[in-house]
Structure formats: C-alpha cells, structure tokens
Symmetry: C2
C-alpha cells in the first residue's frame, strides 16, 4: 500500500512549501496545481472558473464565470459540484498510482478510505503576513490588504471543507498532526517529517 499524505493549510502558513519539501525528501509525487491542470483538461470549464470553485463551497451558477454553455439549468449548483466530483476522481487516481502528497481540496476527507496521514499547517497572523509579503510582487501592499486577502481565502477554504467534509476545517480531531510554522524553519520541519514517514514507504 502506498503512502498518502494530505496537507490542509492556512493561507501564508507555508503549508505548500512544507508539503513540497516533504515530497522531495521522500522522493514521492506532489500534487497541488497539477490537480487544477488535470481539471482543465478533463472538464468543459474554463481555468478561471475551476480556480474559483475547486476549493470553494458550491455557489449558484453565474454564466459569466465559465467558458461553455451548460445545459443542466435545473441545478444551478451542478457545475461546481461537478468540478468537485471530477477533482475527487483525479485525486483518487493520483493517490492510487503511487505514494504522494496532496495539498488542500479536503483530500483528507475525500480520500479517507485510503487512510491518509493528515497534516494541517497553520501560523499566527504576523507570520502569515510576513510570508505573504515575501512572495507578493507588490511592495506597496499594506498589512491591512494582506490580512483581508488571507481572511477571504481562508473563509473560502473553511466553508469548502466544512460543507463537503461536514467537519470543522483545522479542528484537531480531523488531523494526525497540526504544525504551527510561526518562527519555525520549514526545511527542518520537512526533514523531521521525512524521518517519520520514511519507514512507511513501500520498499
């Protein structure tokens, strides 16, 4: 049986970097944007629409948001739940193919029958602001704007998770390990995690 590690993460917590480094250390696959790309290839929806709904609670259909006409007008939620279903199929296929790390998308819940090891990565607000500032190309952005952005994205992730998993995003009972990256070195964290997971990899 292959090893599946899922990573839930607050925005700006470094969860993606941690997942990436962990996958590199373990020489296993890593899936984040790759899932989006597969969705664009395998559904009739535009990349923009998919990006909007792939980690958000279902919203009623607004035709302007996606690229193709949609016949099933009786169910205005159907394109976003359709994306959700397709996304789940893609993640399952990835997880069954080989050991891997999957970022976000309620993969911990969706693939629960595959017994993933479920990480949740978080940080305090000052750390998240600092991390966002590091990767933001606009040096004039204010802290207030960054905080607003963090809160908006986390609100989406939270309602997506809570809606589909019927559980609370970031609540410890849904995870195996919750990592506060505030003031911590992500590289060292990834190294220690690799030591923990190494014996579980198929030889």
């Amino acid at each position: 049986m292959s090893l599946l590690i899922t990573v839930g993460r607050e925005f700006g917590s470094g969860g993606r970097e941690l997942g990436r480094r962990l996958a590199d250390n373990l020489h296993i696959a890593y899936y984040d944007k790759e899932i989006l790309q597969e969705l664009v290839k395998n559904t009739p929806y535009s990349q923009r629409y998919i990006e909007e709904v792939s980690e958000a609670k279902p919203v009623p259909l607004f035709p302007i948001h996606y690229g193709v006409s949609w016949s099933n007008v009786n169910d205005p939620f159907s394109p976003s739940t359709d994306v959700f279903k397709k996304q789940n199929e893609i993640m399952r296929e990835m997880a069954l193919k080989s050991s891997c790390v999957i970022i976000g998308r309620a993969a911990d819940y969706v693939l629960r029958d595959l017994h993933p090891y479920r990480l949740f990565v978080y940080a305090d607000m000052p750390s998240k602001i600092a991390r966002c500032r590091e990767r933001d190309s606009n040096p004039n952005i204010t802290d207030k704007e960054i905080i607003k952005n963090i809160k908006r994205i986390e609100k989406n992730r939270r309602s997506f998770y809570d809606f589909y998993a019927n559980a609370t995003w970031g609540a410890k009972e849904n995870y195996d390990l919750l990592i506060n990256t505030s003031g911590q070195d992500i590289k060292e964290l990834a190294n220690a995690l690799a030591v923990y997971f190494e014996p579980r990899l198929e030889k």
Copy 2:
C-alpha cells in the same frame, strides 16, 4: 539558551511516554512526577492534597484534604493557589538549569517568557481506552468506567489550564505542534521529534 519542551496531553494519549522518549533521545531532563516530589518537599501540604490541586482549578479549602492546619482562613483558595505558585517556581528553576521536557501543569503558559516549544498530544477515544486498559491493573474495568475516568481527569486539566492560562486547553493557537497518537507509533514519533530538536540543543 537551553531548550524547553512542554507537553500538554489528553489522558491516555501517550503524551507522557512521548515526552519521556523524546527527553531520552535528546539526553535532556524530564520532569513530571518529579515536580510533585519537589512540591511535597517544599510546601507544608500532604502529597494527597498536592496531587489533587497541582493540576486542578483552585477549589475552596476543605480541611480534610490536607495535612497541616492553615492559618489564612480568609482566603479559602489560598492553599491551591499557593501550590500553583510554588509549582511554577520549581518548574522555572528546572527549566533554567538545563534543557528539559516538562509534562502538563500549564508549563507552556507559565514559562512562556522562556519561549518553550509547546507540544499537545491527543488521541481518539478508542485509542485512549486501549492505552488506559494496557496500564490498568484491573482487568475487569469496563469501557464505561474508563471513559468516565478519562473525562473526569481531562475536565480537571482543562479547567486548570483555562483558569490559569486564560486560554483554551488543546486549542491549536496555544501550541507549536499537536500530535494525534491514534494508530501511531510513539517511539517513531519521538525519534522524528528528536531529529527536529537536535540542532537546537546547546553544543
């Protein structure tokens, strides 16, 4: 600066074993019952009284509970807050002496100015029951009795922590790492943690 690791833990989660193994791996001091022994040596109270109050929310004085007469009858809480203060002094002394692991007693909050690395160890109920059963000498104890015991002890720890730290016991914002031991190997967890902490030890 020495390394201080604090361990909050649910009852039956294996937090104590994890802390013990981690201290062993790092060759640093480990304090749990040792704090109780120091309290018995350094206060006028009986061991039984200290065991009862050292990790509980202050309760009014009941003379039957402790071994010596107490003059300050105007403040019925004073013996338990007295134990709390003395316990804090002892923990601070221990933490300043050398790198160490301290179990429970809101050490993460009490010694926050020493910048501890704050672990919280938890598990699901079936795992906690199984662990309690392993170490319980009575093979006839029922699951119901074990659950009652777990809930009673955790209620004490929770109200102790919430009262003194004015924060929520087990809530992720108060910790650096939260470890779910359900189905996990404590020894392997302790090994991986040691890899993470090793570089932080004074050379």
